[in-house]
Structure formats: structure tokens, C-alpha cells
Symmetry: C2
Subunit: 224 residues, 2 copies
């Protein structure tokens, strides 16, 4: 199935510039959505043709927009971090209940799992993403917003007081990243279940003191 | 440094059979301990010479005992599972406080981390280990003993009631496995910290119901 936009781009038919821009934007959104789905299922080294097929656009349209796979991976990672950042800012704006709202979004959002798998711990994709200025800025902003959520949540008593933002990010990243290896027969519900379980570790009232000191966002800086 | 045992094996000097067996046993133990340390630091694809050097035995001694790396990996995995199984049985014998004792051992024992990294989620090593009958028997026995610990702990109220043994094993495996990727600058204390944090998720009194149903040991059967 082709959505028609690529045909209008390629056919030489005269169209209004504004309609062209809207077509290009729609194609871009279709490609990113398809790439997220295909990457999450089969990894970022899937053939570009598979992404085009899933998006319902021609291969030529895909390559005009993203000249190679690295460009597509960077755009997908940037888009995923941006979605996460928007969600974190919504939680920030909610104030008091922001932490629980953000935890809920972590539990529900396959988006996050994908972003972390693709970037934070993937030896294949992270080198492609790491040097992208836009991704770096968004990721850093995301860490700062989450750091604020952590402090508010600790002040209001909904998050245990002996962890830092680095602990939270590390715990989520470890659980989410390992999930790639356990996909398949066990299914998505197991992922949701184990992530929800891990996040329960963050509720107040520890059984015993944790070793070491609370980890800061900067403790993760060499990686993210 | 050579511990001398390999020289007595290789020198043709006449020695008592019992002394020879003791030498062979000591060499085997030195090799396994060295292999665990080297694999944990550098992965299971390290040169065999490096293992011999660390063990303080000759390369010939190493190859007489383990004709190839696969044989060594299988022995290391079997040995690690056996140590874990022994620890789980001690916890079982302790009765009432057994669960907390077992949690403590999970937090303290780098052995476990290594075993899981090497086998449960390592794409390189697991195929080597999977078909070893001895490893399979020990791993299955370990799952059954942990399953018993889980039930006792839930009955006595030291473990949340809405998880199954499969949840516990999956959570630990995910956190431990991801740690390989985060070694280095952050150091071992971060691993201890995040594992201790994750295990706190298992204390009674969940914030919200978990999705799905408790996972059984058999839910993990396709993997372990």
C-alpha cells in the first residue's frame, strides 16, 4: 500500500507548495512511526526497504528524506527522546502528583523501552546517535527534568529518599535494556510486569540501607 | 608463576597416584577460579593463555584438562550453578529467615552475576552451555529450590504475595545482565547498589497491582 503522497512527489504533477510541505511532513511522520515499530521488533539493522513497506511509502521517498540508515536512526532516537521529554514536562507541570504520573507513563510507554534499547545500551546504535547534537541536548534536558521530578517526589514522600536520579535512570535502563533479549515467547506482558515490579523498588520505606551513595545524573554522563 | 603441579604432571617423575589426583584437582580448581575472574572481567572469549597465566599453570596443563574453550565455559557455568544451588539449599535449611538470607547472598555474591551474564542472556556463551546435561540438571534443581524459598517467604510475609518465582528470576536476571554493559567508569558499587535497589521491589506491600499473573519457573523454561 502506498499512501499517495510519494506518487504526487514523484509524478511531476503540479501541486501547491503548501500541499507539498504537508505531504513531506506526513511522509516523515509515517516513516518515523514505521521505523520505530520495525526497529523495536527486529532491531535497527533491518533493511530500509522493510521500513518503507511498513510506512506505505516508496523506497525513493524514504531515501530522499533519509539518505542512509544512520540518518534514520538519529531521527528516530531524537524523536523518541523528544516524546519522553514532553511527557516528563507534563508530569512536572502536574506538580504534586507528578512523580506517580511519570512512573505510570514509564510503565505504559513502549516508546521509552524502544528509545533506551536503541541508544543507551545498544552497542550498534549508540555510536550513531551519540554525536548528534540535537539528541544530546534533548537527552540532557530530559535528565534535568527527571532530576527535578525526583527532588519534588522525595520532598512529598512518594519516592524513597535514599536514591538519586542516577539510581532511577540506571534501574530503568537495566531492566528495559535486558528486555530485548527476553522478547519472543514470553511476550509483552512480562516486560510490563517486570518493569512495574522494578519501579516498585522506588516506593518509600527501604528494608535495608543501600550501599554507596545516591547516584547523580552526572554519574551517568560518560554513557548518556 | 607456576604452582609446580603442572611440572610434576609433565616431568615424568614418578609420584603416587593419590598425589597425582590431588595435584590434578588443585589445578582444576585453580583454573576454574582463574577462568571465572578473567571471564567476568573480559568476557568468555579471552585467550586461553590468559586463563593459564592467571591460574599460574602451564598452557599444556590447561589444555590437557580442557581441550577447548567450550569445555572450559561449560565447566565454569556448571561450577557457578552448583555454588548457587548450594547457597540456595543453605537458605532452605535455615527455614524462616531463609528468604532474607538468600536475598542477602544475591546482593553480595558476584558469583551469581557472573553465572547469569555468562549463561542466561549471553548470546555467545549460552549455546555452549545449554546442551550440557549437568548444567541443565543443576539449573533446574536451582529453580525448584528457589521456588520453595519463594513459597515459604510468601507464607511468612517477607516476600510480596503477587509475584511468582519466574518474576523473581526475571527481575534479577535483567538487572544483572545489563550490568555488563555498564561496567567500567561507574564501578562495582553501582552494580551492588542497583541490584540491592531492584531486590527491594520484592518486599511486601505493593503500591499498585502488577499487570498479568505471577510468572512460574516454567514460564522461563524456553530460556533456562
Amino acid at each position: 500500500m502506498d499512501n499517495g503522497a510519494s506518487e504526487s512527489e514523484g509524478s511531476g504533477v503540479m501541486v501547491e507548495p503548501q500541499a507539498l510541505r504537508a505531504d513531506a511532513r506526513r511522509n516523515r511522520d509515517l516513516i518515523i512511526a514505521a521505523a520505530k515499530a520495525v526497529f523495536a521488533e527486529r532491531g535497527a539493522d533491518v533493511p530500509m526497504e522493510e521500513v518503507a513497506r511498513r510506512a506505505g511509502v516508496g523506497v525513493g521517498t524514504l531515501y530522499r528524506r533519509f539518505p542512509d540508515r544512520d540518518a534514520l536512526v538519529r531521527e528516530v532516537a531524537g524523536d523518541s527522546f523528544a516524546v519522553l521529554l514532553a511527557r516528563a514536562r507534563e508530569a512536572e507541570a502536574e506538580g504534586g502528583r507528578g512523580w506517580e504520573s511519570f512512573l505510570g507513563c514509564l510503565k505504559d510507554m513502549p516508546e521509552l523501552w524502544f528509545t533506551l534499547r536503541l541508544t543507551l545500551f545498544s552497542p550498534d546504535a549508540w555510536p550513531i546517535v551519540r554525536d548528534d547534537a540535537s539528541v544530546r541536548v534533548t537527552a540532557r534536558e530530559l535528565r534535568l527534568v527527571i532530576d527535578g521530578l525526583v527532588r519534588v517526589a522525595q520532598a512529598e514522600g512518594t519516592l524513597r529518599s535514599d536514591v538519586g536520579t542516577g539510581d532511577v535512570l540506571m534501574l530503568v535502563a537495566l531492566v528495559v535494556t535486558g528486555m530485548r533479549a527476553s522478547s519472543g515467547a514470553l511476550g509483552a506482558v512480562v516486560h510490563e510486569r517486570v518493569l512495574a515490579l522494578a519501579l516498585d523498588a522506588l516506593r518509600p520505606g527501604s528494608a535495608a540501607p543501600l550501599p554507596g551513595r545516591p547516584l547523580t545524573p552526572d554519574d551517568l554522563e560518560p554513557r548518556v
